[in-house]
């Protein structure tokens, strides 16, 4: 009985690892997304301390920090790295919150069809004329990494979105 259970567990683990291998095998860049909220405490000296935690209490109005960590797990240097992140549904992008070292950050307000710098992103207004899109209307963010990422190296990009 115990052996049978052990065998079953082993088989299951084998199957699972096989599955993940099949999905991950081709990826020389591993990208991990995390969501966090920032808890600010003000000390007696007036200094603010920022502590990040998983989004435990996430009510409308809560600002969530989305971070993508990308790591070169391959054997060669990676180039032309472009990270695309749709703004999660039911949230809106917080203006000026996109960060990323050594990246050019562009945005889209039309579901990722066209991307550009903030002042170049246009949307059709109710009067039919094109107008500059507001940050809370962005639908996608793109980070274009400048240069190469050597094997074993990682970097990260992030943005903040507010729950609608």
């Amino acid at each position: 009985m115990r052996i049978a259970r052990l065998m079953f567990t082993t088989m299951l683990l084998t199957l699972l690892s096989g599955y993940s291998l099949a999905v991950q095998a081709a990826d020389d860049i591993k990208v991990t997304s995390i969501a966090e909220i920032e808890i600010v405490t003000v000390g007696k000296d007036g200094k603010k301390t920022f502590k990040r935690t998983p989004p435990g209490k996430a009510i409308p109005g809560t600002e969530v920090i989305f971070t993508n960590i990308f790591e070169n797990v391959g054997k060669k240097a990676a180039s032309n790295i472009v990270i695309d992140n749709p703004i999660p549904e039911n949230t809106f992008f917080k203006a000026d919150s996109a960060m990323g070292k050594d990246t050019v950050i562009t945005f889209s307000a039309d579901g990722g069809k066209t991307l550009g710098l903030p002042e170049k992103i246009k949307l059709k207004g109710s009067d039919g004329k094109l107008r500059i899109a507001q940050p809370n209307e962005y639908t996608h963010i793109r980070w274009t990494y400048k240069g190469q990422l050597a094997p074993g190296k990682s970097s990260e990009v992030s943005f903040r979105a507010v729950i609608k």
Binding site: A26, D27, D28, I29, K30, V31, T32, S33, I34, A35, P54, P55, G56, K57, A58, I59, P60, G61, V64, F66, N68, F70, G74, K76, A77, A78, S79, N80, I81, V82, I83, D84, N85, P86, P88, E89, N90, T91, L149, I163, K164
Partner: protein
């Protein structure tokens, strides 16, 4: 000017707020938020490859928030019963909820405490408090971002002088049933309980594991600070009962002398205008406005006119107010418009308007010459 007014009845005005634009309260609790990123890259001389991140998933938690609005003034008379003060309660939470209602009538900073108070919810059939219709004592299943009218119905103690005020506070508490209370699998989805007041809410201590919904109170403190604090699923506001007549009379005189200028001199014609405005929520019954003329002036026969301050006075309706204008049994010495509810006797102009329901604005004019 001698005024005889008797206030025998008071009616109620209505304060219905239309619902605000939808989803001001935010995404409904329990809604999942998903996040993921993808990366395109080139490895050496290989073609462009794509990698996809894990998918972030968490649910939107329950934000409990509500707004009670008062600040209304109800004009009352001393000793009146079942006087209505009007409030609104808005559900600013991101799920439907029930709201229990409590009244604070023992507020220290006023001249009197209203008595025998009850709170009732407007049922939406007939505007204004209807004792036979508006019988619900809690708000049942108030949708997100919607507002209900709530009435505090109180008695006014006897012996209150004019201008005395008494305040009444309304405290609303968000309540509701959620699936499960704690532990794994407790999604905390809102469970409607039509016809039944939901359970008192408890904010989640700590953080529920995903995908459970935490219950978070975010309400501010209202007027009833002894009963309502911040983040307690309660909010409150106050209304005021004000004792005194709701009828305001103003009188003005214009003079035209025989030369056509406005010099007060013998032979000049004075036009008196009495403006009677019944405001707010009250009705007055058997209203007679009388103005004894001073010495040395002579009433111009047939000069009494009764009109509306705005709108047309016809069939007893002046603006939106109703005037019954009963005819007096006594013969009138002066007539106007139609029936003889105007009178000039004993050197006094008097007009019987009968029962007048607010809001009404009646203008009485008559002329007299200077001897």
């Amino acid at each position: 000017m001698d005024l005889r007014t008797r206030l025998l009845g008071v009616c109620v005005c209505l304060w219905l707020l239309s619902p605000q634009s939808s989803w001001a309260a935010g995404v409904l609790s329990g809604t999942p938020i998903f996040g993921s990123a993808s990366v395109n890259y080139v490895m050496g001389a290989s073609p462009v490859a794509t990698a996809t991140s894990n998918t972030i998933s968490f649910v939107v938690d329950e934000k409990v928030n509500l707004t009670v609005v008062g600040g209304n003034i109800t004009n009352v008379i001393s000793g009146a019963t079942l006087q209505v003060a009007t409030f609104t309660v808005t559900n600013n939470s991101n799920s439907p909820l029930d709201f229990s209602l409590a009244i604070n009538s023992t507020i220290a900073a006023d001249a009197f405490d209203p008595t025998a108070c009850n709170a009732y919810v407007e049922n939406g059939v007939t505007a204004g408090f209807q004792s036979g219709q508006d019988t619900a004592t809690f708000i049942d299943e108030l949708a997100v971002d919607t507002t209900k009218t709530v009435y505090a119905v109180c008695n006014i103690p006897l012996g209150q002088a004019n201008t005395n005020t008494g305040q009444v506070g309304l405290v609303a508490t968000a309540q509701g049933n959620f699936t499960g209370v704690t532990g794994a699998g407790a999604l905390h989805a809102y469970v409607p309980t039509p016809g039944t007041l939901g359970a008192a809410l408890t904010p989640t201590s700590g953080v529920e594991s995903q995908p459970n919904v935490d219950i978070v109170f975010v309400d501010i403190q209202g007027s009833e600070t002894a009963l309502d604090t911040v983040r307690d699923a309660k909010h409150s506001a106050r209304d005021t009962y004000s004792v005194g007549p709701a009828l305001v009379l103003t009188k003005s005189v214009s003079v035209v002398d025989p030369k056509g200028t406005a010099v007060v001199m013998p032979g000049a014609v004075m036009t008196y205008t009495i403006n009677a405005t019944l405001t707010g929520t009250s009705a007055v019954n058997n209203l007679t406005i009388a103005d004894p003329l001073p010495a040395n002036i002579t009433y111009v026969p047939g000069s009494i006119q009764v009109a509306c301050g705005s709108g047309t006075y016809a069939n007893g309706v002046c603006g939106t107010g109703v005037i019954t204008s009963p005819q007096s049994a006594a013969a009138k010495t002066d007539t106007n418009m139609d029936a003889d509810f105007a009178d000039f006797t004993a050197n006094t102009v008097s007009v019987s308007l009968g029962n007048v329901a607010a809001p009404a604005n009646v203008v009485i004019t008559f002329r007299a010459t200077i001897n």
